[in-house]
C-alpha cells in the first residue's frame, strides 16, 4: 500500500506539451479513477506513474520517495492493460509466475502465490491453458491475477474492462470492487466510462486536455461540478444547459433566460452577469416545480425502469427530462414540467461554478 504525490508534472513530446503543472495527491489505500474524453491524457498519466513513459517536468513520489528515474520494475506496482497483454506463448501458470521468477523468489513461494491468486480469481482449472484458449473474461481474470501475485503497493488499471461485452463488464466491475475491498491496496484506474468511474471510485479525477478539471468523490462531482465541462461530462443522461443573463439582487441573482420565466437564485457566494444554468434531467418534474414551462415532445426513449423525454421548448431549445412514470408518452404531445431553483447549477461566463454559501467547501 502506498500513497502517491504528483508535483508540477509535465509531459511533452518534442516541442508539443500534452500535460503541464499537474498536481495530485493520491491517498494510501484509495481507489482513484482517472476519467475524461479520449485524448485527455489519462492513459499517459497512468503510464508516467507506471514508469513506462518518462515525465519531462516535475516529480512523482511513491511513499515520499521520488521515483522519476526508477524503472517500472522497481516501483513495486502492477498494471493491467486494456489488451490484457498476456504472454501468448506461456501457459496461464507461467504468465502468473513470470514476474515472481524475475524477482528471484523460491519455487515454493512462487507456487504458493500462483495457487492463491488462482483460487481468489477462480481460474484454477485454467492454469495449464494458453491465453488463446481463454475467453475474454478469463483473459481478464488472468491479467488481474498476474497483477495481484506480485503483491504490489499500487495497482494500475488502463481501461481494463473496455474489451468485454456489457454483461461481463458489469460482472467484472463488481469483482474488481470486491477485490479492492479485500486487498485494500491503492488502485489507480483509467476509464472513459463514467459508470465505472462513479460506481468504483473513492475519488474521481476528471481530466481534459492534460489538465485536471476537478478531483472529488462521485457525489461531489455529481452534485457540485466545478465547471461546465465536469457538469456535462459526469451524469447520464446529460445535464441540460441554458444560456442566461443575470442581475444582482440582495443575497443572490435574478436570472432571465429565454426558455423560462424570470426567477431568482438566492444564497450564492458571488454575483455574475452572464451565466449558464444547468439542470439535471431528473430535477425536471412533470407537472411540478416552482418554475414551470410547457414543451412539445420530440423523442421518447423508453428504457424500462425510466423514460427519457426529449422536448422542444417554445424558445426552440431542446430539453431532456428523466421520468420514472409508467404513463405513455407520444411524439408531438405537449407536457408541462418545472424545477426548483435550488436544483439549478449556476456557472459564470468562464464556465466556473458559482457555489452556494451553504455548501461546504470540499478539499
Amino acid at each position: 500500500m502506498a500513497g502517491l504525490t504528483l508535483r508540477d508534472v509535465g509531459k511533452s513530446y518534442g516541442g508539443l506539451s500534452v500535460m503541464s503543472g499537474l498536481d495530485l495527491d493520491i491517498y494510501d489505500g484509495e481507489f482513484l479513477v482517472l476519467v475524461g474524453p479520449s485524448g485527455c491524457g489519462k492513459s499517459t498519466l497512468l503510464r508516467m506513474i507506471a514508469g513506462l513513459e518518462e515525465i519531462t517536468d516535475g516529480t512523482i513520489a511513491i511513499e515520499d520517495t521520488i521515483v522519476n528515474d526508477l524503472p517500472a520494475s522497481k516501483r513495486e506496482l502492477s498494471m493491467v492493460f486494456q489488451s490484457y497483454a498476456l504472454y501468448p506463448h506461456m501457459s496461464v501458470r507461467k504468465n502468473l509466475a513470470f514476474g515472481l521468477q524475475n524477482m528471484k523468489m523460491t519455487k515454493a513461494e512462487v507456487a504458493r502465490r500462483v495457487d492463491e491468486a488462482a483460487r481468489v480469481l477462480q481460474i484454477e482449472e485454467l492454469l495449464e491453458r494458453k491465453p488463446r484458449q481463454l475467453s475474454g473474461g478469463q483473459k481478464q481474470r488472468v491479467a488481474i491475477g498476474r497483477a495481484i501475485v506480485r503483491e504490489p503497493k499500487l495497482f494500475l488499471f488502463d481501461e481494463p474492462l473496455s474489451n468485454l461485452d456489457a454483461e461481463l463488464r458489469v460482472q467484472m466491475r463488481v469483482e474488481l470492487a470486491s477485490l479492492y475491498a479485500k486487498l485494500g491496496t491503492t488502485m489507480i484506474y483509467v476509464t472513459h466510462d463514467q459508470v465505472e468511474a462513479m460506481t468504483m471510485a473513492s475519488r474521481i479525477v476528471v481530466l481534459r486536455k492534460g489538465t485536471i478539471e476537478q478531483v472529488g468523490t462521485p457525489q461531489e462531482l455529481y452534485t457540485r461540478p466545478a465547471n461546465l465541462f465536469v457538469a456535462g461530462f459526469i451524469g447520464s443522461p446529460k445535464i441540460n444547459m441554458f444560456k442566461a443573463t443575470a442581475s444582482k439582487i440582495a443575497d443572490g441573482i435574478h436570472i432571465s433566460a429565454p426558455e423560462f420565466e424570470d426567477f431568482e437564485v438566492r444564497g450564492l457566494e458571488r454575483t455574475v452577469d452572464d451565466v449558464t444554468i444547468c439542470i439535471r434531467p431528473e430535477a425536471l418534474v412533470l407537472g411540478g416545480g416552482s418554475i414551470q414551462v410547457t414543451a412539445e415532445i420530440i423523442l421518447v426513449e423508453y428504457l424500462g425502469s425510466e423514460i427519457l423525454l426529449h422536448a422542444k421548448l417554445p424558445s426552440g431549445a431542446t430539453v431532456l427530462l428523466q421520468t420514472s412514470g409508467k404513463e405513455e408518452y407520444a411524439r408531438g404531445q405537449n407536457i408541462s414540467f418545472g424545477f426548483e431553483t435550488s436544483d439549478v447549477h449556476v456557472f459564470d461566463h468562464n464556465g466556473d461554478r458559482v457555489a452556494f454559501t451553504h455548501e461546504e467547501a470540499f478539499a
Binding site: 502492477s78 498494471m79 489488451s83 497483454a85 498476456l86 501468448p88 513470470f98 524475475n102 488463446r132
Partner: protein
C-alpha cells in the same frame, strides 16, 4: 382457372430460363478451370524441367547425357551415386561435414545476431537510430562483388584465409541486412504492451528479447533460417575465394572438381552428387515450413 394455367406456364418458362443460365454458368466455370489447370501444369513443367533433366542425367550412362533428347535413361546407372561419392581425392562425407559445419554455424550466427540487431531497431531508443537503420538498408544495395576485394585483403591480413572464419564470423556480426529488415518488420507487429507488461514484471531489455520477443518470432526465425541455410549451403563464390585446401572444401566447391580432373569431366557422377546436394535443403525446407505454418497459427494475440 385459365389464368392459373398461364401462371404455371410462365413460371415454368422462367424456371427453365434460370436453369439454362445456371447450366451455362457451370459450363463456363468448368472450362475456365480446365484452362487454368492446363496453364499451371504447363508452367510447372517448364520450371521443373531442369530438375527432371538433372535427375535423369544422373542416372544415364556418360555417352547418353548430351546426345539424346529423351529424359528416360536407356539403362539406370545407379553406380553414378556410389562411385561419385568416392570419385574425388576426398570422399563426399568430408565435403558434407565441411558444408554442414559452415552452414550450421552461419545459420545460428545469422539468427542470433540479426534478431539482436533487429530488436534494437524495432524496440529500443538510441541516438541516430534512423540514420543507422538507413545505413543498414543501404548495404542491401551494395553488390557482394564490390566489397569482395577489400574484404579479402582484410581477412588475409587477419590470417583467416583458408579457414572457415571468413565464412562464419561475419554472420555472427549481423552482416546480413535482409534478415535484420525481415525481423524488424516482424517484431514491430508484436504488441508493444507485451514488452511493457514484461518491463513491469521486472525484465531487462535483454530478458524481454530472450523471453518474450524470440519465442513469439518463430515464424520470422523459421523464414530467416530457411533462406540463410539455402544461401550458405549453395554458396560457391565465398568458399571458392577463401578455401584453398581440398580437405576443407564445401559441397559446391567439390562438385566443380568433377569438371577439372585432367581435362576430362565425369558428368554423370557430378549430376548424381548434385542431386544429393539438394537433399538437405529440401528436407530442411519441408521441416521448417511446418514450423512457419504452426508459428503463424499460434501467434494469434487476440
Amino acid at each position: 382457372m385459365k389464368t392459373n394455367v398461364t401462371d404455371m406456364t410462365v413460371r415454368d418458362k422462367n424456371a427453365q430460363i434460370a436453369h439454362e443460365i445456371r447450366l451455362g454458368q457451370k459450363k463456363r466455370a468448368r472450362r475456365a478451370r480446365i484452362y487454368k489447370h492446363i496453364f499451371l501444369i504447363g508452367m510447372s513443367i517448364v520450371m521443373l524441367y531442369p530438375l527432371f533433366w538433372l535427375f535423369a542425367s544422373s542416372l544415364k550412362p556418360e555417352n547418353e547425357i548430351f546426345s539424346t533428347l529423351t529424359l528416360w535413361p536407356s539403362e539406370f546407372n545407379w553406380n553414378n551415386y556410389t562411385e561419385g561419392w568416392n570419385a574425388l581425392p576426398k570422399s563426399f562425407t568430408v565435403f558434407y561435414m565441411n558444408s554442414a559445419i559452415v552452414t550450421v554455424l552461419s545459420v545460428i550466427g545469422n539468427l542470433l545476431s540479426c534478431s539482436f540487431a533487429a530488436y534494437a531497431f524495432a524496440r529500443l531508443q538510441f541516438n541516430g537510430k534512423n540514420l543507422f537503420f538507413a545505413l543498414m538498408m543501404m548495404t542491401l544495395m551494395i553488390p557482394y562483388h564490390v566489397v569482395l576485394i577489400p574484404q579479402y585483403v582484410l581477412f588475409l591480413n587477419l590470417g583467416w584465409v583458408d579457414t572457415y572464419l571468413p565464412l562464419v564470423v561475419p554472420r555472427f556480426l549481423a552482416s546480413d541486412a535482409f534478415f535484420i529488415f525481415l525481423m524488424v518488420q516482424f517484431f514491430r507487429q508484436l504488441p508493444r504492451e507485451l514488452d511493457e507488461a514484461a518491463m513491469i514484471d521486472g525484465c531487462s531489455p535483454y530478458k524481454i528479447y530472450w523471453a518474450i520477443i524470440l519465442p513469439l518470432s518463430l515464424p520470422a526465425m523459421g523464414t530467416a533460417a530457411i533462406f540463410s541455410l539455402i544461401w550458405v549451403w549453395e554458396d560457391f563464390l565465398a568458399p571458392l575465394i577463401y578455401l584453398n585446401d581440398i580437405k576443407s572444401y564445401t559441397v559446391p566447391l567439390a562438385l566443380r572438381l568433377f569438371l577439372d580432373q585432367e581435362g576430362q569431366s565425369i558428368f554423370g557422377q557430378m549430376f548424381a552428387m548434385s542431386v544429393l546436394s539438394l537433399v538437405p535443403v529440401i528436407v530442411f525446407f519441408i521441416a521448417f515450413q511446418k514450423l512457419i505454418v504452426r508459428g503463424i497459427a499460434t501467434s494469434g494475440m487476440k
